[in-house]
Symmetry: D2
Amino acid sequence: MEETLLTSSAAGVYVICPTPFEGDGRLDMASTDRMVEAYLEAGATGLTILGIMGEAPKLAADESQAFVRQVMKAVAGRVPVIVGVSAAGFAAMSALSVKAIDAGAAGVMIAPPSMLRTDDQIVSYYADAVEAIGTDVPFVIQDYPLTTNVVMTPKVIMRIIEQNPSCVMLKHEDWPGLDKITTLRRASDKGEVRRVSILCGNGGLFLPFEMERGADGAMTGYAYPEMLVGVVNLIKQGRRKEAHDLFDRHLPLVRYETQPGVGLAVRKYVLKKRGIIAHDTLRKPGPKLSPETISEIDWLMQRIERSE
Amino acid sequence: MEETLLTSSAAGVYVICPTPFEGDGRLDMASTDRMVEAYLEAGATGLTILGIMGEAPKLAADESQAFVRQVMKAVAGRVPVIVGVSAAGFAAMSALSVKAIDAGAAGVMIAPPSMLRTDDQIVSYYADAVEAIGTDVPFVIQDYPLTTNVVMTPKVIMRIIEQNPSCVMLKHEDWPGLDKITTLRRASDKGEVRRVSILCGNGGLFLPFEMERGADGAMTGYAYPEMLVGVVNLIKQGRRKEAHDLFDRHLPLVRYETQPGVGLAVRKYVLKKRGIIAHDTLRKPGPKLSPETISEIDWLMQRIERSE
Amino acid sequence: MEETLLTSSAAGVYVICPTPFEGDGRLDMASTDRMVEAYLEAGATGLTILGIMGEAPKLAADESQAFVRQVMKAVAGRVPVIVGVSAAGFAAMSALSVKAIDAGAAGVMIAPPSMLRTDDQIVSYYADAVEAIGTDVPFVIQDYPLTTNVVMTPKVIMRIIEQNPSCVMLKHEDWPGLDKITTLRRASDKGEVRRVSILCGNGGLFLPFEMERGADGAMTGYAYPEMLVGVVNLIKQGRRKEAHDLFDRHLPLVRYETQPGVGLAVRKYVLKKRGIIAHDTLRKPGPKLSPETISEIDWLMQRIERSE
Amino acid sequence: MEETLLTSSAAGVYVICPTPFEGDGRLDMASTDRMVEAYLEAGATGLTILGIMGEAPKLAADESQAFVRQVMKAVAGRVPVIVGVSAAGFAAMSALSVKAIDAGAAGVMIAPPSMLRTDDQIVSYYADAVEAIGTDVPFVIQDYPLTTNVVMTPKVIMRIIEQNPSCVMLKHEDWPGLDKITTLRRASDKGEVRRVSILCGNGGLFLPFEMERGADGAMTGYAYPEMLVGVVNLIKQGRRKEAHDLFDRHLPLVRYETQPGVGLAVRKYVLKKRGIIAHDTLRKPGPKLSPETISEIDWLMQRIERSE
């Protein structure tokens, strides 16, 4: 199914999917189906599963595979699906990548492990990872220093792109990172590096500016993905003011969701309240929302929904 | 001048002052005077100088002292001034603290050094610091893990408060940190710990909620401090919706200013554009604003000013 | 087989086993058998597999299980075997723990993940881990801050011991850590905490002193485990000078093996040269020994073997 | 006094000096004089002061300057003196560097601050530092990742050397770091980079091998510096076995002294016991030696002194 593989022209909004659990912590397959449907209706041009916000490290190997299959079945080829395969070792990464591609995934996403320090260590790591997953599997670099503690300069990203033809996308969530987009785009415009897709993460916190800097879209998991879709489309249509107006209405909740640690619990609570998933269960270790937090989220949701 | 010392009933908005430099990097005393005046006009109930956002580590010892004296002269006793005395060693901390109090400062602020790990190490560090500055100098705990890499639980903060009667304030900028405020306030309400002032930092990113959780105000440095003052007052008056409306109008720029590293450059640029300081010079190592960044800030400023 | 489970009276030398690979990276089962035999002949009172130096994170889930089964078969009940089950999530930890105990392991070992900071976070983590593996599975706390970046005070370790009756051992490899042993032993002597077994790691770098401070033995993987056995026995017999003389003859190589990163490659090279494993292959990412390094190891081995 | 400045042909043993304190924490100038004398008698070819092991960050600015002057007076031009000027900011670095060179120092040493991550950040930092201290002041790169948390590849070190003609020495204490010496020496042999002096730190833990890899000597602070001098000389004379024999006799104490945190307390205790300094006081925060630790050091000293 080569035609379904991810390419560097990917654009739009790839929604980062949380992994829905039942109240007792088992995978919730019914909510998974419902979530996929809701995201596609919201205008997602792709989905990304088993990322950091998908609680991927908390799944056993067979659970990860079961979840991949369930999502692929629900999507049924309507949009490309990217599977996070970051792992402590290349054997586990390779095993999951094979299963994902076999199940129909369009590509995989790889974040660097936190012990990497020097430019060369980062470049080597991606070379080894590509050897592990195979040079025919399209992959996404996840650049998320706030969580990985690995800082990649534009130069390092360009070296990875140049050395690995199967690198087709950057999930950009450096912070601050706007000038990084500009630098990468300027370099590909000048022919100094192959142009890859840039989709932005970080909860969407800078999305309108990221689009204006040259990003192709968003890959993040805000609980109202229709806002992400709206902003991406408005910016592409040159309707700057409307894009920012839409974005700014959501910014108070976006900001609330980007709180490290507690953010995913917030997101799952909103998704549950919107009827998209049945439970807001997180696997341990994970935060629990206090009553005060819940009432703040409710307030933020009301303000958003009233404004529309 | 014991009557001017900081107490645990401090409240309102203590504006974090940047250190203004001339274009060539020397201290800019004229801008310092103008900035003090602007902040007091904006409604500041106090000022804080030589904090992390005051580029304190970039000043030589004699420059720090000269800046303290200049600010004290400009303030002329109208509001209390807190001086950041965080230092790599207690000898330097003690020396600066003595000079600050002699010059009329109301108290000092101390952030923990990044190598501290365990609860006991943190508690011991503050005990040693108090020994260094003297038990008669009121001090503020700065709880800012994003920058210091030191995580203090409410329990640790309470141990520091209990062991050190001269601890009168918490500069709260944990992230996420709303439940921490609730926990500390509940504990002091129950008499489990002495009540100290809690002023919130983090660029003000969660200010309305922080006030509702029990904070006494803000200690941060957003370039439109009148917004901080307004939000604090509106919440205190129970005018919740107006407080959030005011805050949300500024949130796009608040978010932009809280980008690590580049944030201070953004703030100085806005202060310069508002005529408060003459130059937006940062000392090295520090970021430079790209033309794209400047045009984004201009856009955000226009949207704020148009909305008022 | 409850009688074979690990208890807090465990003592002697639990040799940390590397995972032998073929030249092409597959598990080398023949070398595994030979290694087990060599370690038992050297006087090991137990074995530990799938630890940090066993390249555990580099194995896929099915490989880990295959290796556990192979070792258990080779050991054939002669000594207890501890299996490292540290994992990014509790689902994977639980799955491996169940397989290990089913295969006849005496207990499991758990290192804390590197993001833990506060005392309470560490204590909670072990509570959650015990919930995941079951309260009937004896476990070992691995206290190795140089690698995990998690600092546990004696107080934290005692809280974990007191809250979890299934905690039977501390693998002590804090550095410096001699006073920690003294503190823990003094506390159990006074009845302030249950006495657990303390076996020491860190490549054995401080073994004679650790024994004198009250450790029950070693759990580490030096390539001449007979030295570890000898030192433990001599100290137990009160033959201090002989213990130190024996240890000091090996210290130049012990020190060479404790170099972070390259240490395991050194160890595998020595084991290969001694005929214990067939290849010194490490899985990626891993260092390669330079010719200069090899010649230095050869020199150190000659000096040890000549002195005996 | 240009003829007294440090050059890239520096060699031998530059002893790292602790800063002696009185029992009450004041600078102990009499012990300083005695220590200088003892180190020169031991064969030091240079001295280094105000390094990490000199408790430099614990001194106030005027104390640092007083200590520099005292050492310069005691040395009286007999050997070159290097002054550590690492500081949180360039203003403080520049101020101390000017005072040091004015007082007769041969050069300064600069360690990178712990927040540096990428190759370019490290290279830029040294460019800014050279701008701060002046291009005419010879400087030493301190490469000590265990403490600074900054990892410099050989490539980065070579970029710093090439961009800054005033860089004359590498204080090498990466760990593991033997292959780094080989790589740097091979590069300068091939003319790919200017040859600078390499002196090795890390407490001397790998000194004989470091010399054989191409180092020019040691810059570290072991409490028996005559051993360091002996090993350096024996290796230079090609007397390999004698060098290792001498080194191995001291290795048990060398290892004991290289324990992070407690190491400096150990060193000061030995220096006091040898009559070189009057007190083993450390400034806070610093460890205190337990009775058990003291008795272990005594045992190690006896074994060394008996063997000679």
